[in-house]
Assembly symmetry: C2
Homo-oligomer: 532 residues x 2
């Protein structure tokens, strides 16, 4: 077997013992392999990672929150300091722009780590609820088991299994992480892991708190996902892969937070189109081709009503897509999956208005693609026509009228987002309310007058949605402290003496901590006299 | 087919169309059947119930919260008014004491409905989080799909599928309920359904908001649990049944909140025993035989250290169990399952110290049973020896010392509760901390110096625990507003104009509603000038 890069297991960088095979990233612009080679782990290495993480879990759960916060901040500082090298690696592996997108994503990543640190420092995610009369105090606490994090292809920094939102959330809740990087950017993941491991070495956290595995095959993933030593799983990726892992995890009673697929329907209302059709076409095109359309919240379906406004919008959109150069994609498999998904949409009756084909090599390119169906045709084939085509692709549904747009809204399965564009003067109000009320329970985030790409890292964000866009509609993958609670257990103390309680549940409150005490949120101490 | 009682489907009481068979409750004290007969629904009736509930869901989600609160309060009032009849029915069907337990449970049930009403009125469960700078506002909202509720045998009122905590929680979140009553108390369930339906008729809620099915067979349960029209499932019952339903629900992506089995270990520390051993024996015996031990939080395992204190406790406990009269159980199946579970414990090496046998008919009685194993034997056969024996049964583990008690704590799978008795003067402090730190991640509620039976209805309660005691360690089945959030979806509004937001997310706040605005919990309005 060829030599390959070291794994991070049990607090040290070490060679894979029985790699299944080795793999290399490819430069998507030309399809050429990039050195060095990375191992595809065998089950022995995975078992060692799981054992080490499980062993570290109780010690990590007992680490003072301040040390966790310092570690997360230090990770952010080290990643910022290594910015140029990280961006260069990620650019080579993903072809994402090194001047705009990647610096922005890196800043988002370190911002996210620092938000997690702040949520830890403020204990915000523990959500203390105290009933002084009943002698009951409850909060969220570490799972005290490892969290397995699967990184996706489309955010080499912000959702990387080693530095992204799931990593930050799992570590904030004081659970060890087993990071499964995405094989399309192993060197970026390795370099992030080096930053994180340096922060770990400088901390009081157990060294086995973070394991880095670059890749393993599907069978290994399935047995690992079903191992009861795991506390939870975070996954961002395809529906096919997500559902297979979820089935394995479900059987073992392991909560899996999977963010799978979404077509993010965008409804353009009549008066918005009448006022603003051309600008909306430009906005849609920009959103759909940014990052080559490889976003979870890419606008994959847009619905316009019949009439002059809709026609003008459609014509302008078609012009923009037709005039665009091919977009470079992350990998051969992204390109092939897009080709396959578009073929399925065509087979279900969608007509290609622009683009529609991959570029013959070298590299992995596909033309921005606009497809079209009528509203009645969509309604008759809604299941097939809402399949995700991951990449720069949009299906334009030409509806007869607002009433049909309402029926189309009702035909969508769970999505991350649903968007409505309305005239600012209120002329679309009735249509907005009709469509929004139907769309609302089908989406995690309801958006007005802006495109769904762009997911702000905010406590009020919901990057989640009803099944099958995610595996549970009650949780968000972005935004602290909510995202941290996915990796926490609700724990109650009943009649436990005050001095034996965790710090955030004691009478004397921690600085800045807001707690729900006898039904009221407050940052005050509990009067010891109350609990009589 | 014999005539049987009407089902409540689609807003009216109607005959089962194709009942599989009919069944009658039995008086557990004598085993005699009680009239009338109730239908075991066929799939046609279940489909009609599901269709009606699904159709009602959007309308129910749009009902003003005040109307939901009024409905829940009215349910409570009508149940209180029907108190004597309900208690008489439940006493006949369950043999629970009509003078103590059942009045207490009824009061708990109506109190729970009123707490849910208050949580609705205060919007507390929607947990609004607002980021004025990012233009994002999020809260929990109805699933807008029906919730299927399975009632257990052991709380004919407080966990009845038609009036209990899951019912109150699902309705509070404005989701229709499909109630699957427990077949051991159909007349009690019918009478509760009559109270609830009268409240429904007096309300503005859709009449199809509540369906009542008395029974269906396992195969029907499995297809219903896998129907994607369901929003969620609440289940309280056996591990075997819960896991089978969960597997069906998981495959369809339906969250199932299952509360299954738990042995609720109780650790008695040396100094607590030295001071108080005899009183502790009485406390354990009372907790274990109350309600004939048929509680989710029954103390099924008690761990004592070697020494004079432990020996005296064990002797006194044995005396109490041996002197006790047989306890009446809910049904033939509870008795048979208890006999089977005790046989398995004996087969795994537990020795019967007292009781151990069912009474030969008539009626369903079993002697309070105390079994014993050594600490080392328990550790060698921990999986078999922590099987739940539902009923008045306790396994006494005689540990060598505190160090072995710590290892025993580490051998427990997920439980609802874990209890430690310590000396009030602090003499057990080191032992408490060692055992508690190991027990903590394995239980939902950590209790000091009182028995686990008795689950206060409080916002700070956790009636939940790690798998396999429940299906998800992040949720509680008791306590508002937490229990309501199981049946809610996280929903975010992004850039949506203020006047198109739900009432609890608008600038002008609702009376008494606490919201997290820009990181701080407050009941104040949002200054319109802030969102610039």
């Amino acid at each position: 077997m060829a030599k390959s890069e070291n794994l991070l297991i049990d607090g040290r960088w070490q060679a894979a013992r029985e790699p299944r095979w080795v793999f290399r990233a490819e430069d998507p612009t030309c399809g050429q392999e990039i050195e060095p080679a990375f191992p595809v782990c065998g089950d022995g290495d995975i078992e060692r990672a799981l054992h080490a993480a499980s062993t570290a879990a109780p010690a990590l759960a007992a680490v003072p929150p301040a040390a966790i916060a310092a570690f997360l901040d230090d990770c952010a500082d080290r990643i910022d300091a290594d910015r140029d090298a990280l961006i260069a690696l990620a650019h080579t592996e993903t072809a994402l722009p090194a001047d705009t997108r990647l610096p922005g994503e890196l800043a988002r990543t370190t911002g996210q780590l620092r938000q997690a640190a702040r949520a830890v420092r403020e204990h915000a995610w523990t959500h203390p609820v105290i009933d002084t009369h009943a002698g009951l105090r409850a909060h969220y606490a570490p799972l005290a088991k490892p969290v397995l994090v699967f990184g996706p292809n489309n955010f080499p920094f912000a959702f990387n299994a080693i530095s992204g939102s799931d990593f930050a959330s799992a570590m904030a809740a004081r659970n060890p992480v087993i990071a499964k990087a995405h094989p399309s950017h192993p060197a970026t993941s390795q370099r992030l892991a080096q930053c994180v491991f340096a922060a770990l070495e400088a901390s009081v956290l157990p060294l086995a708190s973070v394991q880095m595995l670059y890749h393993f095959d599907n069978d290994s993933g399935l047995w690992l996902a079903a191992d009861p030593r795991l506390g939870a799983i975070a996954f961002t990726g395809s529906r096919h892969g997500g559902l297979a892992l979820k089935a394995a995890a479900d059987e073992a009673g392991i909560p899996m937070y999977a963010e799978m697929s979404s077509v993010n329907p965008v409804f353009l209302l009549p008066e918005a189109l009448a006022h603003n059709g051309k600008a909306l076409a430009a906005e849609l095109f920009a959103s759909c081709t940014m990052g080559s359309g490889q976003f979870c919240t890419n606008p994959g379906v847009v619905i316009v009503p019949a009439g002059a406004g809709g026609d003008a919008f459609s014509a302008e959109t078609q012009r923009l897509y037709a005039a665009a150069a091919p977009n470079v994609l992350f990998s051969r498999s992204v390109r092939d999956n897009l080709v396959r998904a578009l073929a399925q949409l065509r087979q279900a009756g969608a007509v290609v208005l622009a683009g529609g084909a991959a570029t013959s090599g070298p590299g992995y390119y596909h033309a921005p693609t606009l497809l079209q169906v009528s509203g009645s045709h969509f309604l008759a084939h809604a299941e097939q026509l809402q399949g995700e085509a991951f990449g720069p692709s949009t299906l334009l549904i030409q509806a007869d009228d607002v009433a049909q747009m309402v029926r189309i809204a009702a035909a969508f399965e769970g999505n991350l987002t649903g968007t409505l564009y309305r005239a600012e003067d209120g002329a679309d109000e009735a249509a907005f309310q009709q469509i929004a009320s139907v769309l609302r329970p089908r989406v995690g985030r309801l958006i007005a007058n802006k495109m769904p790409t762009g997911v702000a890292v905010s406590p009020a964000m919901n990057h989640g949605g009803p099944y099958p866009s995610t595996s549970h509609s009650g949780f968000t993958a972005v935004g602290m402290p909510g995202a941290i609670r996915r990796f926490a257990a609700l724990q109650c103390y009943d009649n436990v003496p005050e001095h034996l309680l965790p710090a955030d549940l004691r009478d004397h409150n921690l600085p800045g901590l807001q707690r729900c005490v006898d039904g009221h949120w407050t940052d005050r101490d509990i009067d010891a006299g109350v609990e009589a």
